[in-house]
Amino acid sequence: MALIDIFNNLANPTRFLALTNRVLPWLTALTVIVLVYGLYRVAYAPDDYQQGATVKIMFLHVPAAWLAMMGWGLMAVAAFGTLVWRHPLADVAARAAAPIGAAFTFICLVTGSLWGRPMWGTYWVWDARLTSVLVLFLLYLGMLALYWTAEDPNRSARAAAILALVGAINIPIIKFSVDWWNTLHQPASVIRMGGSAIDPSILVPLLIMALAFTLLFLLLLLLNMRNEILRRRVRSMRMMQAASI
């Protein structure tokens, strides 16, 4: 009962804004604290015996990769909200998540590349995992282009939801097909992910950084959702203005 109440309360953008404004300071503080602590732990984490100090890139790379995937997952869930329940905040959330998800995917790609150079001797290989992240990035770009193109949020909301769902179905298919593609063409190569079983001295900072990134994602999401709600408010006020003449 109480849960449904909360859900209904959140459905109202005005209440959502009020709640967001109350939560934001705390979330900001928490994010900063966890992030700083995480970075501190990262700074004092030991080097990997194989990869040396470059393992420090992992603390950015892996959380970014997780959040890149989580971002699309969130958009796919929101898509259900838009199409099935017509929840007013679902599209706001999806739209707010798209640029953030794209940014984390970008971070994953860039840090991965910068890690690949010392490890594999090249910035980029057409390996299965890298490639599927690249396709994910392309999908994000398509989603951003879609949002960019449609001025009218009501118009783009459902289109975006359908693209999010189709993309969500497609990502595992891509992962699978790219794996297959690679085993066909790629000769035994330099590519070897990870390597050592992860030692707690590295695992713990990694998990803390992952938590910090997740908090950061949420923080940005809330901020961006707030903007999106305001943007829609501006829109509807302009509509009123146009109709009032």
């Binding site: 199409l83 396709v135 392309l138 999908l139 770009l141 398509g142 282009a145 879609l146 193109t149 449609a150 009218d152 009501n154 118009r155 783009s156 459902r158 289109a159 939801a161 359908i162 693209l163 769902l165 189709v166 993309g167 179905i169 497609n170 298919i173 891509i174 699978f176 097909s177 790219v178 297959w180 593609w181 066909l184």
Partner: protein, 222 residues
């Protein structure tokens, strides 16, 4: 049924009339593929090596870009409104349009593939397999592109946006299409498995495409 047939025939007639788009796909395919040797340079071995890839990329671009105005033209002149007011489920209407499009656009493209294969120095005997891989794979492109065509009506823009949205979704088709073609040409992997997967992808998108496209069109009624 009568209604569906009427729609299929109308769309094919529109495509083949003066001003219709029937041969545009095939022509674009022809032009794009013929441009590639100019960029690569006249290295016959290299051309033969990447021939199937070039043919598939060309077919992919031609299929998607030709789909651009599949629904948009009906939207712009008000036909789409009436199409949705029929007793037929929109999914069937949409599928009929897609089939008409495949018949008038993808089929001619496949027919001219052997000629292009010659220019790319692809072995004649293998060309049959490349064409076969296109026959199996282009329906998937059309039916995935269908989603983009419907979205581009909703968004009121076609062209590049549609290609940007749809291209990433076609990655599996491209991979297995080229894999099947290459298997036929250079081996050593057999032609069968990638070809089967290609057919499966086509079947899956045959089901999924019209549903997603009809949903997009319905949702787009703003």
């Amino acid at each position: 049924m009568n209604a569906l047939l009427a729609l299929l025939l109308r769309d094919m007639r529109l495509a083949t009339r003066v001003g219709g788009g029937a041969l545009m796909g095939a022509l674009f395919y022809f032009v794009v593929v013929s441009m590639i040797p100019f960029a690569i340079g006249p290295d016959l071995n290299l051309l033969a090596r990447i021939g199937p890839a070039v043919l598939w990329i060309g077919a992919l671009l031609a299929s998607l870009l030709a789909l651009d105005r599949l629904f948009a033209s009906d939207h712009d002149d008000g036909s789409l409104d009436l199409l949705t007011m029929s007793t037929l489920p929109l999914e069937l209407t949409v599928a009929a349009k897609a089939i008409a499009h495949w018949l008038t656009t993808a089929l001619p493209l496949i027919v001219i593939t052997p000629v292009l294969g010659l220019m790319l120095n692809v072995d004649m005997s293998a060309m049959g397999f490349v064409a076969l891989s296109l026959v199996a794979g282009t329906p998937a492109l059309t039916f995935i592109g269908l989603i983009g065509a419907a979205l581009s009506v909703t968004l009121r823009r076609g062209g590049l946006l549609m290609a940007i949205l749809v291209l990433p979704l076609t990655v599996p088709v491209l991979i297995f299409g080229v894999a099947a073609a290459n298997a036929a040409i250079v081996g050593p992997a057999p032609f069968g498995p990638p070809f089967t997967i290609l057919c499966a992808l086509s079947l899956a998108s045959f089901v999924l495409g019209p549903f997603a496209a009809a949903a997009a069109l319905r949702q787009g009624q703003e």
